[in-house]
Symmetry: C2
Subunit: 471 residues, 2 copies
């Protein structure tokens, strides 16, 4: 009885700390060992206290990172709505809007909620620089010569070795390196489609994918996408015979942050295999999971070689290195040919630096810290939005990555809001950027891979105030 | 009178040295000052002697490099023939042949006459490595971040500054950086054509250009190309209304080494401007001239912005860096959009290294040495081929770059010869690689940017013997 009282007591203290915001949303809780020493109790007592808090959804465990103050149990805002399938031809490309948002990117005085880039403070820049100097010394002729078209053997081998999630199904020869994931997707679509072909994409969809599709003269079918479970399989089924390819971000899609459940992935691959339709799977956020383990890619379920699995380190290490890759399945020769024709080869140095960083465990360590920061930020953003944005704001519940999707009142036009926000030195991505149709005009995407501080919180507050003024 | 006797005497001595091959084909002559001291005569006397030798075509002056033993006056082999214009559709892509040749590239034991790559010994690798380490320290965050889509400001500024040949017509904002010249051409063709369009290319044509054209679903018209003056303007005129773009290497084309005369360039630009047809000008060999000055690009004559001037450092500094650029004229926005969609940006580091290398005069110095080596090699190769290849071999007379084009007896099939040569550890590029038609089967391209030594000479001898055996 005494034991039970103890853990209840501890749990109560912490619950009060959470209620009074001494422990704020997204904060990491003290480690079990710290609490044990503090209260002079057994490890088990602390564990029981944490379990009690977890069962009330007040805290959440994070693999290898400890416990965090959570809010799952007292979610105030509901999820964004799912778009209806549209069959009309595209209405208007959001190019001008995209250009406008991109033009603000180099202004350092603007808070860049719009970017899909991790804050420098979250990246191991000094370590990478050191790795670069080592690689220059190690490389034959300092990497001045052409590399084999398929890419650095070293990087491919390391990638294969570290792709635990594929359970050994991937060898170095199954990979081709690219200039980032965007380039991988471009190559894949070049390889498996011809102008006039039809490609299924998400909705809302990452505008980069939308732009590649347009540039290649392809037709896009936007598949309704659920903020938690991703693309709607029933919707895909309906258009299946018309498709020449699919291009999805299966894990923590940008902008919704949704995660396709394993059964969906399996069923999707089965359906596409039946029709021999290639799936370009952009898995660049897969390592930024908030759950207990890295989610499987669709590639895991691919027996026929139809899945072209794309990845990169642009979101986790160094966007400017332009290091990406693709495991193109049965389309490998086509991809190699594409790469040869487009650019002959990719620079060796960056690939070597990344291979080295992965090889000796530094990447794994870095990812653990990064995930924990992102998750904590995600909760803090959600908390701030709930506090400062109007009632009835809808907000996504990302399970990884670093994008939040907000759906505001129908009266708010986020393209107009953008112009107002820029004057206040705040940039975000208006919803209209993420579709070829006239929709999502009241939505916005926020990047939460920015360093959390008072200024950032205040920027969210000011943004919320702007939204309210637009009602 | 005494003076005249003196210079005639000196000229005679040197002529004898050339005849007896004490001074060999391609050798650099002693400097005027050296001869002056040796014979204790005036500078003018030596100059007169050299002029006399030059008038007999025994020696040739090279800008800023001195005089070289020449052979223009006693050329033994004639020029390769010019192909007739074909109007049939393409017969067969030489893809398998290209793959076969490429597959031999990583074998270090093979003499790579087939490659379009400068020997490492001719490149300033140590200096570039040093520049790289400096650049890492200088760059913001070690270049981990995205660079502006248009490319490094530093590199663009330096390129503009060093483009003396354009006489100040080029500003930093007129340039976009790319992953090498191949990538620049790919982007240009993506930007200004759509599948089914028609593009004029040279014949024989660099197979990389041919492959881009095919990959993009374009039709190629091969324009007859003269080994000295380049593409036949009359032939272009005939097909002009059918063209959507032209893609030519105006200076020292690969594989012929020809140089379009200025009047041709001017007329070509005029013709294309009239029809508003974009000219993609690949000028990656322009700095490797054997004459007295860097030839002008077509871009120089471009008032309407139809010329997309492409360049790179792949032939002169570091192929593996993948640093190239394009001055796309009025198509700039399209090119930037293409680059954004294909790969977002290019890595900063290599661009900074190249900018720095150009900026403080090291590039210029390096080019002077490289040109002199290449020219000397060109003469030595020609001499060896005249010595060891069958009579009636036809051989190009490149005015820059580092490619030789040979036309052998009709009985020789260089695709078959390639298989035989590979067994003897010699690789070259069979003529069939440079056309979409069933022609050039008795031609071959040899790279002369290899370090000249006894082994190399012997390899040419063995290759000549193989050719003879095939007669």
């Amino acid at each position: 009885m005494k034991k039970e009282t103890l853990y209840v007591k501890i749990a109560k203290v912490m619950e009060e700390q959470i209620e009074s915001e001494t422990l704020k949303l997204g904060d990491k809780l003290p480690s079990i060992r710290t609490i044990q020493k503090l209260y002079n109790v057994s490890i088990n007592t602390v564990k029981q206290a944490y379990l009690a808090l977890e069962s009330k959804s007040l805290i959440e465990p994070r693999a290898k990172s400890g416990y965090f103050v959570s809010k799952a149990g007292r979610r105030k805002f509901s999820l964004p709505s799912v778009a209806k399938m549209k069959t009309t031809t595209q209405e208007k490309e959001p190019e001008d809007l995209i250009s406008k948002v991109f033009n603000t990117l180099n202004d350092q005085t603007i808070t860049q909620f719009s970017l899909g880039v991790t804050a420098n403070s979250m990246l191991p820049i000094a370590k990478l620089n050191k790795g670069m100097i080592n690689a220059i010394r190690r490389l034959d002729n300092g990497g001045t010569g052409y590399e084999p078209v398929q890419g650095s053997v070293n990087l491919r081998r390391t990638l294969a070795k570290w792709s635990f999630v594929l359970e050994g199904k991937l060898g170095e020869d199954d990979l081709v390196t690219t200039s980032g994931a965007m380039n991988a997707i471009f190559n894949c679509l070049m390889a498996v489609t011809k102008p006039g072909d039809t490609v299924a994409i998400e909705s809302p969809v990452y505008f980069g994918i939308q732009q590649i599709v347009k540039t290649l003269g392809l037709k896009a079918i936007e598949i309704p996408t659920h903020p938690i479970t991703g693309v709607d399989l029933e919707a895909i089924k309906k258009v299946l015979p018309r498709l020449n390819a699919c291009c999805f971000i299966s894990n923590f899609s940008n902008p919704l942050g949704c995660l396709m459940p394993d059964e969906h992935k399996k069923e999707l691959v089965r359906m596409l295999t039946e029709y021999d339709i290639p799936l370009i799977e952009d898995d660049l956020y897969g390592n930024l999971f908030f759950g207990t383990e890295r989610p499987k890619p669709c590639k895991y379920y691919d027996e026929a070689g139809i899945v072209m699995w794309c990845g990169s380190v642009s979101k986790t290490l160094a966007p400017g290195y332009r290091v990406g890759w693709v495991a193109p399945g049965k389309y490998k020769e086509k991809i190699i040919r594409q790469k040869l024709v487009q650019t002959i080869s990719t620079p060796s140095l960056y690939q070597e630096v990344i291979a080295d960083f992965m090889e000796n465990g530094r990447y794994d360590l870095h990812l653990r810290t990064l995930r924990s920061k992102l998750y904590s930020n995600c909760l803090k953003y959600q908390g701030a939005i709930e506090a400062y944005f109007p009632e009835h704001t809808k907000i996504s519940q990302p399970q990884g990555g670093f994008m939040l999707w907000l759906e505001l009142d129908k009266k708010v036009d986020t393209a107009e809001l953008f112009d107002q926000a820029i004057k206040q030195k705040i940039s975000f991505a208006p919803g209209r950027m993420f579709t070829q149709y006239n929709q999502y005009n009241n939505c916005m995407r926020l990047n939460f891979a920015l360093e959390w501080n008072d200024k950032l919180e205040n920027d969210i507050k000011r943004l919320g105030r702007l939204v309210k003024a637009n009602l």
